[in-house]
C-alpha cells in the first residue's frame, strides 16, 4: 500500500511505501477529571492526527526531498493512494528522518518518518 507526501503549493512529492511498523497515533486535546463521587468529567477542545513508520530502500532523491522538508518544517499533504481524505501535515522527527544506508548499498537508504497534522 502506498501513500503520497507532497508540498501544499505544488504537485511535487514522493511516493511512500511504509513498512509494517506503520502506526497511527491520533490524540485528543482534553482535560479529564475524576471527582469524589467517581464521576468523570471530560472537556475536549480538539484533536490531531499523527503517523509513524519506517521506510527502506529509498533512493537519494527521496532522501534529499524528505530531509529537506524536515529541515524547513514544510507544510505538506499526506494521502493514501486512491483516497480522497487528505491531511495537512509536517514532518515532526526530532532527528533527521532518512539517514541510514542499507547494507550493502551506498545509494539506498532507510529511516523513520513521523508526521503530524498542524
Amino acid at each position: 500500500m502506498s501513500y503520497r507526501l507532497y508540498l501544499t503549493n505544488s504537485a511535487d512529492g514522493v511516493e511512500v511505501f511504509p513498512e509494517y511498523n506503520y502506526t497511527e497515533g491520533d490524540r485528543k486535546v482534553e482535560s479529564r477529571t475524576r471527582t469524589s463521587t467517581g464521576a468523570e468529567y471530560v472537556y475536549k477542545f480538539g484533536s490531531f492526527e499523527s503517523w509513524k513508520f519506517g521506510v527502506q530502500f529509498v533512493n537519494s532523491s527521496f532522501y534529499a526531498i524528505v530531509n529537506s522538508w524536515w529541515l524547513s518544517n514544510s507544510e505538506l499533504l499526506w494521502v493514501k493512494t486512491g483516497d480522497t481524505d487528505v491531511s495537512s501535515v509536517r514532518i515532526i522527527n526530532r532527528k533527521k528522518p532518512i539517514g541510514k544506508f542499507i547494507k550493502p548499498h551506498d545509494d539506498l537508504y532507510a529511516g523513520t518518518i513521523e508526521l503530524s497534522t498542524y
Partner: protein, 396 residues
C-alpha cells in the same frame, strides 16, 4: 446575577462531557490555535485591582512579529473567552462564549520561538491614577454624596471609564450599578470624601469597605453589588462536580461590636459623630470582638448612615461562620462573584439545602478546574423555593 447565556448553554456546561471551546482574540483576529498554555483567571469579591494575565503562545510562524513594527496594536482589545461552540453541531448554531478576561496588552515578550503576552484588564488606570495631592486635594466635602455617585465620578472622571448612563455603557454594568445605587438612595446613605494622593483603586477599596459592597470586574465590565438582598437564583451543583472541600471556621471572623466614626472635619482632624452597634448575646458568649471604622478619605456624614454600617457588620459577623474552599470542575463558571450556590458534601454534612455565596474563584483554563471560596458571611434572609409545597397539578 449569572452570566447572560442561554438555558442550553447552562445545561451543556454542567454535562460530564460538554461541548466546550476556548478563545484568545486580539482585536478582531482569533489566535486561539497559537495558545500553548492557557492561564488561570482569579476573581475576588472585594479586591479592586487590575488583573494581569499572561498567555504563552507559539510564534514559530512569526504570527506575533507584527508587534515589533506596529507596537500600537498592543492597544487592541484582547479577550480570553470560554464557551460552547454551537457552530460545530449539526445543525449549526451560534457560538456562545463568556468573556473571562478582557483588556489591553501590557507587555509582549519573545523568547525561544514563543511569545508571552500579558493582558491587563480595563481598570489598569485605577492602580496608576492618584487622586489629589497635599497642595490640591480632591475635595468632596462641599455636598453630601451617595456612595454610588462618588464611585461613578471617580470611575468615569478619573478612571477613564465610559460615562454613558444606560445599558449601552461599555465599561460599567449599568443594571448592576443602578441596583447598587438604589440601596443608598432608599436609605439616604451619604458620604464625604477627601483625597491627598490616594490611588484610585484604594479609594474604591474604601468605598467598598464602608458600604460592605463588592466591586469587581466580570464579563469585561466593572460591577457593583451589596449582597444582603434576598434572591431565588441559586446554582445547584449537586455532588458530582465536587472534587474536594476544605472547611474552616475561624474565631477571628467574629465581630460583635462595631464602632463607626463619621462626619470627619478635615481642618480640625476630628470626627463629630461616633456610632456603634453591639450584639450582647455574642459578647456574652465570645467576649467583646470590636472593629472600628475610622477613615480620613471616605466617611459617612450622618449617624443613620454610620450606624447602618455597624448594624450590617454585627448582623453578619456576630457568630463564626463556615468558610469553604471547594475544588470543582468547570461547572460553576457560569456564575458571577456574589451568586448563590448549593452543593453536596456528605463528609461535612453539607446538603443541597445549604445556600452559600460565591466570594472568589480561581479558574484554571488549562486543566478545566475551578477553586471557589463560598461562605455564609453575607447571607441574610435567603429565599428558598420549597418545590414540595407547589401545587404541581395546577401548574401543569
Amino acid at each position: 446575577m449569572p452570566h447572560s447565556v442561554s438555558s442550553d448553554f447552562l445545561v451543556e456546561i454542567e454535562k460530564k462531557a460538554p461541548l466546550v471551546g476556548r478563545k484568545f482574540t486580539i482585536g478582531d483576529s482569533d489566535y486561539t490555535s497559537y495558545v500553548k498554555k492557557w492561564p488561570k483567571i482569579r476573581k475576588k469579591w472585594n479586591d479592586i485591582r487590575p488583573i494581569n494575565i499572561t498567555i504563552n503562545l507559539s510564534n514559530e510562524d512569526q504570527a506575533f512579529d507584527f508587534f515589533c513594527s506596529e507596537p500600537y496594536k498592543m492597544n487592541n482589545t484582547t479577550k480570553i473567552e470560554f464557551g460552547v461552540p454551537w457552530s460545530v453541531e449539526s445543525p449549526a448554531g451560534t457560538d456562545e462564549y463568556l468573556t473571562l478576561h478582557e483588556g489591553k496588552i501590557s507587555n509582549v515578550m519573545f523568547t525561544n520561538g514563543g511569545c508571552k503576552i500579558a493582558v491587563v484588564d480595563k481598570i489598569k488606570p485605577f492602580a496608576e491614577r492618584v487622586l489629589g495631592d497635599t497642595d490640591t486635594p480632591l475635595d468632596y466635602t462641599a455636598s453630601d454624596y451617595y456612595p454610588s455617585d462618588l464611585a461613578w465620578y471617580l470611575a468615569t472622571s478619573y478612571g477613564g471609564l465610559d460615562n454613558t448612563q444606560s445599558t449601552a455603557n461599555t465599561d460599567i454594568d449599568w443594571n448592576d450599578f443602578i441596583n447598587w445605587a438604589g440601596v443608598f438612595t432608599a436609605d439616604n446613605t451619604r458620604v464625604n470624601a477627601y483625597f491627598e494622593g490616594t490611588r484610585l483603586n484604594e479609594a474604591f477599596r474604601k468605598i467598598g469597605r464602608i458600604t460592605r459592597s463588592s466591586i469587581y470586574v466580570e464579563d469585561g465590565k466593572l460591577r457593583f453589588a451589596r449582597y444582603t438582598e434576598t434572591t431565588s437564583i441559586v446554582l445547584n451543583l449537586g455532588a458530582d462536580p465536587i472534587k474536594s472541600v476544605t472547611a474552616k471556621i475561624d474565631d477571628k471572623e467574629i465581630i460583635n461590636k462595631h464602632i463607626t466614626f463619621a462626619d470627619y472635619n478635615v481642618q480640625s482632624d476630628t470626627y463629630s459623630i461616633v456610632t456603634n452597634d453591639e450584639d450582647t448575646t455574642s459578647v456574652n458568649t465570645y467576649g467583646t470582638r470590636e472593629l472600628i471604622e475610622k477613615d480620613q478619605n471616605v466617611w459617612y456624614v450622618d449617624s443613620s448612615s454610620a450606624v447602618d454600617l455597624s448594624q450590617r457588620i454585627v448582623l453578619t459577623h456576630k457568630e463564626p461562620y463556615l468558610q469553604l474552599k471547594v475544588d470543582a470542575t468547570a461547572a460553576p463558571i457560569t456564575r458571577f462573584i456574589g451568586d448563590l450556590i448549593t452543593f453536596e458534601w456528605d463528609k461535612l454534612g453539607i446538603t443541597g439545602g445549604d445556600t452559600k455565596r460565591l466570594m472568589s474563584y480561581d479558574f484554571d483554563l488549562n486543566n478545566m478546574a475551578m477553586k471557589i471560596d463560598v461562605d455564609d458571611s453575607q447571607i441574610v434572609g435567603i429565599f428558598r423555593l420549597d418545590v414540595s409545597q407547589l401545587d404541581i397539578d395546577r401548574l401543569a
